[in-house]
């Protein structure tokens, strides 16, 4: 019998046996979390509040619900924003969505609805959905049916350092785009970095371009673009040109193209530590700024808020609002207890408790009085008077278009493409859908 001279049969058999054993062990350890005790409903909850102040609050809500309902077990998985998006993608694409998960609504939710991975909860929530602010519910309603419920809603605006503005001689927050550009010049004169921007994360930059588009072309401009996928319009190009006027002044912090939003040396930290005078960010900005300061207090009452200025000659109203909320969508295979937990979560009492942390603006009517932070009050009041609402573009549009918007604005910020070129790129992607 021929045997290779360097490997005896016995060692060959031994190797094969070891290899087979290793494969079996590997298969055993990767077993999923399926099954559980019978009669117990397990809810897999994926959220993105992986830090203070909301992570412990969410945990309390879950513990209270489990204490009150013995047949329910809630398994919480909290992740950072980008990591959550990646994990959710693989889960939903495979047809295995979690039972309750973070959702911003809009085009991304629409794709999930079309793929059939989320549950239509219109009937299940009909008893209590009337308590939710209608404008907040909009992004979670697809073709008239409800697939998710928001627990936070807000708008994007300028968060600024009052001391820096005073130092630069700016007496009142800018109300027009020209005034904002002048304020930037004044801040640079005074040796202060005017604006903090997270160039690496891309989505903070798209806030600027979107708001300019809304102010210049009105909300109809974006509604039309969503319908026909054509961004090659003069108003969009003008939005890019106005943004470029700002970018050319070099108003951002050093190294901004590589800065993240919530990173220790990123956009929120720059404002929170007084290294930059302002940022254009959503209602969660004060909380994230504070979290990135050594004493976790942030700017305190040195922090002010003002809405996005109007643009001269623009069709948009100053009371049009760009923003979004946070909510939960329900997975296709979610047990019934999930809807009960959602109802508990959105109860006015729980909303009050969450609003007290200052990290959210409640969506349930009657909980607004719990907002203590003066800046949050300003945001809530501004939002309450909004004449129109546009969801973040990278969520409102389908994922490919939303990502392209972010990428294109990033290229504008980096100085690689012109305002006319980026609208062509976005149109190409939108019409390739």
């Amino acid at each position: 019998m021929t045997t290779p001279p360097y490997l005896s049969r016995r060692s060959f058999l031994g190797l094969t046996g070891a290899a087979a054993g290793a494969v079996l062990l590997g298969a055993c350890s990767s077993g999923g979390s399926g099954g559980g005790e019978p009669g117990v409903q397990e809810i897999d909850w994926w959220h993105i509040q992986n830090g203070e102040p909301l992570k412990p609050v969410w945990q309390e809500f879950a513990d209270e619900f489990m204490a009150a309902n013995s047949g329910v077990k809630i398994n919480i998985t909290d992740r950072e924003n980008e990591a959550f998006k990646a994990a959710l993608t693989t889960a939903t694409q495979a047809g295995n969505p979690p039972d309750l998960f973070q959702s911003w609504g809009g085009g991304v939710l629409r794709e999930q609805v079309q793929a059939g991975v989320v549950k239509d909860i219109t009937d299940a929530v009909s008893g209590w959905v009337g308590n939710i602010i209608p404008a907040a519910l909009g992004p979670y309603t697809i073709d008239g049916r409800i697939y998710g419920i928001p627990w936070d809603v807000g708008m994007v605006g300028f968060w600024y350092n009052k001391d820096h503005f005073a130092q630069a001689g700016i007496t009142s927050p800018p109300a027009t785009w020209s005034e904002l550009l002048a304020a930037v010049d004044a801040l640079k004169e005074a040796g202060i970095v005017p604006i903090a921007l997270a160039g690496a994360d891309k989505w903070p930059a798209h806030f600027w371009w979107s708001y300019l588009a809304i102010r210049i072309g009105g909300l109809e401009l974006l509604a039309q673009a969503e319908a026909d996928g054509d961004f090659n319009k003069p108003d969009f190009i003008r939005a890019g040109e106005e943004f470029k006027r700002l970018i050319d002044k070099e108003p951002f912090q050093p190294g901004f193209l590589a800065a993240g939003y919530g990173a220790p040396d990123g956009q929120a930290a720059a404002v929170g530590n007084g290294q930059a005078a302002m940022e254009l960010m959503g209602q969660w900005a004060p909380a994230v700024q504070a979290a990135n300061t050594p004493d976790e207090k942030g700017l305190g009452d040195k922090l002010g808020f003002f809405p996005f200025p109007t643009v001269e000659g623009g069709k948009g109203k100053s009371t049009d609002v760009f923003g979004g909320g946070n909510g939960f969508a329900v997975g296709r295979d979610a047990p019934d207890a999930t809807l009960d937990f959602l109802k508990y979560f959105l109860d006015v009492e729980q909303q009050r408790r969450a609003a007290e942390t200052g990290a959210i603006l409640p969506t349930v009517k009657g909980a607004e009085d719990a907002i203590k932070d003066p800046n949050a009050k300003v945001v809530a009041e501004t939002f309450a008077q909004a004449t129109g609402f546009q969801l973040y573009l990278d969520q409102a549009f389908p994922p490919a278009v939303g990502t392209q918007v972010n990428d294109s604005v990033a290229e504008l910020v980096a100085g690689n493409k012109s305002p006319a070129e980026i609208v062509q790129d976005i149109t190409a992607t939108a019409q390739n859908q």
């Binding site: 058999l13 494969v23 190294g255 901004f256 590589a258 990033a410 290229e411």
Partner: protein, 337 residues
């Protein structure tokens, strides 16, 4: 560069089993038991190969086939969503995509830099550390240590080092008054690719250094001594004796480096995510963005097929023309002696 996951390249000097055995001079046709013995041998061989074959087909060939199939469609990845046939449309779109063409250029730059900067540096260090120095073992350990760190850990480490506000790079450059130079390692589009290259070199030069050290031990002392006795200078000894005899090791090192550069992902993703504005993007990052962010799975699969073909063609050509002297029985010279 990191070695590929399946190391099916044989190190120099290894004699593989004959794949096509010539007809053995068997016993006379009437004798049964030796012939049945041979058939039984083959049958046992097949049984033992089957588990590995199943794994290989299931985990390597199968997915490649499925990927090739998927790359002909437009699909958003949901198993419940329909797939739209576009033929080679994804591939034509790919070669007109400025980002992908840029990926090819940047990958090429990284490969050339590795071959011209990283490998000679590793070789030089290996030769240095072959001398009887004091603390030689300690230095060998020190230079090999970065290879032991995971790519993600290294990436996070250098994010801190390169941080514009409080990073170590800024501090160190500040000692010589050059701190303004040090702020833009990762945010300047013109140099970010080279910053990524610096991090990759830091991590992998130790690995190549150890490879060369090991190869150097195989060169008999008598050869170098003979050359020295004949009057050769150290440089001449290196050039004429050591270097040619290190040939097989160097060729393998180049191979691993190139394949690693083509498949690079972790380091770029952690350091820059391909930014700013695609200035440090490589094929694998583009693949990830299109597949998992834009939900254009068909297009992303087309990118993966192109990557696969590039690696495959390179591996085959390299084995055929460069490694031919070092390997016998490799697939491209099968049958020739």
């Amino acid at each position: 560069m990191n070695p590929p996951a399946l190391a099916d390249e044989l190190p120099a000097g290894h004699r593989p089993t004959e794949t096509a055995s010539p007809a053995k001079p068997g016993p006379a046709p009437g004798a049964r038991s030796p012939r049945r013995g041979r058939g039984r041998d083959r049958w046992i061989g097949v049984i033992f190969i089957t588990p590995a074959l199943i794994l290989f087909v299931g985990l390597v060939l199968g997915p490649i086939g499925i990927a090739a199939y998927t790359s002909l469609f437009k699909w958003n990845g949901y198993v419940t969503a329909p797939m739209q046939y576009v033929g080679l449309g994804n591939f034509t779109r790919l070669f007109q995509d400025q980002i992908f063409i840029g990926d090819l250029k940047r990958g090429f730059i990284l490969i050339v830099l590795s071959l011209v900067v990283q490998l000679p540096a590793a070789l030089g260090l290996a030769m240095l550390l072959n001398q009887p120095l004091k603390g030689r073992t300690f230095y060998r350990l020190l230079f090999f240590a970065p290879y032991v760190l995971s790519e993600v850990t290294t990436g996070v480490l250098f994010l801190l080092v390169f941080s514009p506000n409080r990073g170590m790079a800024k501090e160190v450059f500040g000692w010589v008054g050059l701190e303004d130079l040090a702020v833009n390692w990762l945010s300047d589009q013109r140099i970010v690719l080279y910053s990524v290259f610096v991090v990759i070199s830091w991590k992998y030069f130790g690995f190549h250094m150890i490879l060369y050290l090991a190869g150097r031990q195989n060169i008999p002392k008598e050869l170098t001594e003979a050359a020295t006795v004949d009057g050769a200078s150290p440089w001449q000894v290196f050039r004429s004796v050591t270097l040619p005899l290190l040939g097989p090791t160097i060729r393998i090192s180049i191979f691993l480096s190139v394949i690693g550069a083509i498949q690079l992902f972790d380091m770029v993703w952690v350091l820059t995510r391909g930014g700013p504005a695609h200035a440090s993007e490589v094929m694998a990052v583009t693949l990830f963005e299109y597949g998992f962010r834009r939900f254009e799975v068909g297009y992303a699969t087309a990118i993966s097929i192109v990557m696969f073909l590039i690696c495959l063609v390179f591996a085959l050509l390299y084995q055929r023309y460069v490694l031919r002297r070092d390997i016998e029985g490799a697939i491209t010279v099968m049958g020739r002696k």
